[in-house]
């Protein structure tokens, strides 16, 4: 603990005892986020309660050159909140006040530790809600959502976090106040808010977020459609979009996924189907009736073998419960699972699923698939046993191949979970050296000392050279000037 002392002593000058944790028994709960394969005890955990405390913590860390990693609820799936062994884990858990809900202006001003689901609960009496609904919404925080640009199952129609955040406030590493966006539709100058959202805690620390609230649709109904072939289900997704319909939600699960889920929650899924689609319509009763009829016609033509339309809200929520519980359900049929997050152009779905199938055989590992079909965002779940070192190794190779396939077909390595520490090597595949250099330039503009969440999200060029799987431009390796290891 000796190394911790200077920063602890400096923090004690303005933080109460209970807001500084540095004994192992206290810091242990913070050793990982939702990506439990990576663990690191933080040197110190700080739990500020006021903006002034956040400002001073950052100033102390900047002065002592101590790294800082912000953390919300720790539900992230890419290790973005993996603590620094030599620095301060800045827990924003006590920033849990909803500062203001303005029903006429349709905005909510909240602190970053407020849980996602709380916003919609408090907005509900006004007929409003906050649209992004990641599966972890009962636990995950708005601050974490902003840092990761979180999605959910309604993104195609209602957008990502990016589309639903109006402004943010916080502090730079030097403790300067920073305010981007606001309640107006735009701000003068560059759209720095766009840079901030999804920046994985690399640029500054959030202390306040202004959210856009939307009118709650009067009603919603979901169609559960069965297909005897995964590719046909993929084709049906394209047909729906091609017919000019933007469903409120459009999700696919393959048979291994529905079978895992059904044992767990009893959602009423068709277990004989090779894949099922959940296709939701929302709006006024007139709009929903009209759209459900159009959706059914398209799904039928696309070869649906069975269709069930939710009759009431209870049934609709039951159909969704399986999808929302997919990760924990899979967690019950396997000691461990590894969740991927690639996004692909929808038309390449059949090809990518076939490729994943071939990897299951090659690596001897099972891989059920849940899929935000409307957005092309895949969540293949590789099942493995972490106590078996060889299985863990095969899982990592399997996952890397899937992510690189996503890039190859014109997609991305991460749709909504973030890069964190998990996908940092694959960033070398997705981007060339000039893009990575520019990202580092953006980082330096906000955080010149490189103290915020160091080593995450954007790999150093040296790391890419070591990884040795860089994108090749025109037959030439990028950054040939670097040594190979």
């Amino acid at each position: 603990m000796g190394a911790a002392l200077p920063v602890v002593a400096a923090l004690r000058e303005f933080l109460p005892q209970r807001a500084i944790l540095h004994e192992e028994e206290d810091t242990r709960p913070y050793e990982c986020d939702g990506l439990t394969a990576y663990r690191q005890l933080p040197m110190v955990v700080a739990l500020p309660e006021t903006e002034e405390q956040v400002r001073r913590i950052l100033q102390v860390c900047a002065a002592l050159k101590v790294p800082v990693v912000p953390r919300g609820a720790g539900t992230g799936l890419s290790g973005g909140a993996l603590p620094p062994g030599d620095g301060v884990l800045l827990s924003m858990a006590k920033f849990m006040r909803v500062l203001r809900i303005d029903p006429l202006a349709r905005v909510a001003v909240v602190q970053p530790g407020v849980r996602n689901a709380v916003v919609s609960e408090l907005a509900a009496p006004h007929g409003l809600y906050y649209a992004p609904d990641p599966s972890s919404q009962i636990a995950c925080t708005i601050g974490g959502n902003v840092s990761e640009n979180s999605g959910g199952v309604h993104c195609l129609k209602y957008g990502l976090t990016l589309h639903n955040v109006l402004g943010v406030r916080g502090f730079t590493i030097d403790g300067e106040p920073i305010e981007l966006g606001g309640e107006a539709s735009d701000a003068p100058g560059y759209d720095l808010l766009a840079l901030a959202i999804g920046s994985e805690g690399m640029l500054f620390v959030l202390t306040e977020v202004t959210l856009k609230l939307l009118p709650k649709p009067q009603c919603a109904r979901v169609i559960m459609a069965s297909f005897d072939d995964v590719e046909k289900a993929g084709g049906a997704v394209a047909d729906i979009i091609g017919a000019g319909i933007v469903p409120a939600g459009l999700e696919m699960m393959d048979r291994p996924a529905t079978r895992a889920v059904e044992q767990f929650v009893g959602a009423g899924y068709d277990l004989e189907a090779a894949a099922i689609l959940l296709c939701e319509s929302d709006g006024t009763p007139e709009e929903v009736d009209d759209e459900v009829a159009r959706m059914k016609a398209v799904l039928e033509r696309a070869g649906a073998t069975r269709m069930t339309v939710s009759r009431d809200e209870t049934e609709r929520l039951r159909f969704w419960s399986g999808r929302k519980a997919a990760f924990p359900a899979v967690g019950r049929i396997s000691p461990d699972y590894y969740c991927m997050d690639g996004t692909i152009p929808r038309k390449r779905l059949g090809e990518v699923l076939a490729f994943i199938g071939s990897l299951e055989t090659r690596y001897g590992l099972r891989c059920p698939n849940v899929f935000h079909a409307g957005d092309g965002n895949l969540h293949p779940l590789i099942l493995f046993d972490a106590n078996n070192a060889d299985e863990l190794h095969r899982t990592e190779l399997f996952a890397a191949e899937v992510l690189e396939k996503c890039v190859e077909v014109g997609g991305t390595i991460t749709g909504e979970h973030g890069v964190g520490v998990e996908k940092i090597n694959q960033m070398c595949v997705q981007f060339g050296a000039p893009e990575l250099e520019l990202f580092h330039g953006v980082k330096r503009a906000f955080d010149p000392h490189g103290l915020l969440n160091p080593g995450k999200a954007v790999p150093s060029l040296a790391r890419c050279a070591e990884y040795g799987r860089m994108r090749v431009h025109g037959g030439r390796l990028p950054h040939p000037e670097l040594p190979r290891f």
């Binding site: 106040p177 000019g244 906000f446």
Partner: protein
């Protein structure tokens, strides 16, 4: 390979310490600050790179005429949901994204930047860089492609853009109601909080216009709820393109971007309100400081949109932290300062 020609022009400009003025159709030359440097015409790099209607995404080169792009989308019953203004014949996609302006549907559908999925950029070193992609969800790396929206070409040459699209609404109707300004603001904000298919609103001189877009049944039900008289739909293109009579006359045109529920702004001159109250156009001879102060009082900002004399600057001043970030980002993207110097702020 015209892209390589652009790269060579840029590298040569860096070597000569010359400024470049990136320009498509020149329809937005009136917008923003000084026009300085040798013109680099982007219109030669034109055409759709990829468009598959079932993906709801189009990728096109910067010189593609906006009109041509919109026509092709229309043939597939799709559209750019943010209804970008052209401001004249020959507007290009690159200029549209660089200006970052959205039209009447912005409050309902989102802004231009919300629909940017990816971009290819030639930076101030002449490097071709690719950010984002052609998929709906992508959180790999900082969101540089959206940063480019509205950057007025000061960060680099936006060579290609991928945009998310939307299906064209099946049905549309416009309604007109009598309402004084304060009442109109309240109505627009109240309606926006209800599940109604309102796709545009506009108020001026005691008259409120509301456009509904969506399914036939949805539009009919909403029209019954809102009331008023059914009117022609031809109001909206005139507002989008500023060919409407409101925009005529010699007084400066101000664009005030404010919280939608902000009360009426007491300023001399005429006002036209869009976006449920979030956009207030002002034709006024008022002193720039007075207009900016009025916008700031309600937590908004003011842009001198069209004026003969823009010596007082077009955009609201940045706070010191934002100003420093702007300068550092500008240096990161364009270290020699070749692109459109002075177009946003005089100092870079």
């Amino acid at each position: 390979m015209i892209l390589e020609e652009f790269q060579q022009r840029i590298r040569a400009a860096v070597d000569r310490k010359a400024a470049l003025r990136l320009r498509g159709g020149g329809t937005k030359d009136f917008y923003g600050g000084a026009l300085r440097g040798e013109v680099l015409d982007t219109r030669g790099y034109s055409g759709i790179v990829e468009y598959e209607p079932t993906e709801l995404v189009v990728t096109a080169r910067c010189g593609t005429p906006l009109e041509e792009l919109e026509r092709i989308l229309e043939q597939n019953a799709q559209c750019l949901p943010f209804e970008p203004p052209h401001f004249g014949a020959g507007a290009t996609l690159g200029g549209c994204v660089a200006a970052g302006l959205s039209g009447p549907r912005r409050a309902a559908a989102g802004a231009l930047r919300d629909f940017v999925l990816g971009a290819k950029l030639i930076d101030g070193r002449g490097q071709a860089l690719a950010f984002g992609g052609r998929v709906m969800k992508n959180v790999a790396g900082y969101d540089v492609s959206r940063l480019l929206a509205g950057s007025l070409g000061t960060l680099g040459l936006i060579a290609e853009v991928s945009l998310k699209l939307a299906p064209r609404p099946q049905a549309q109707a416009t309604l007109r109601l009598e309402a004084p300004q304060a009442r109109a603001l309240e109505l627009m904000n109240r309606w926006a909080g209800q599940p109604l298919p309102i796709s545009a609103t506009a108020w001026r001189e005691g008259e409120l216009a509301v456009r509904l877009s969506g399914s036939t049944g949805g539009v009919r039900a909403a029209a019954a709820k809102i009331g008023g008289a059914v009117a022609a739909d031809d109001l909206w293109p005139g507002l989008r393109e500023q060919t409407d009579a409101f925009f005529a006359g010699p007084e400066p045109l101000w664009r005030l971007s404010v919280p939608s529920a902000a009360p009426p702004l007491e300023l001399p001159g005429r006002q036209l309100i869009e976006w449920n109250g979030a956009l207030r156009w002002l034709k006024s001879p008022a002193a720039p400081a007075a207009v900016r102060a009025a916008a700031r009082t309600v937590k908004g900002h003011a842009t001198l949109f069209r004026a003969a004399d823009k010596s007082a600057g077009c955009f609201d001043a940045l706070d010191p932290v934002a100003a420093r970030l702007h300068r550092q980002l500008k240096t990161t993207f364009d270290p020699a300062g070749v692109f459109n110097p002075g177009r946003i702020y005089p100092e870079f």
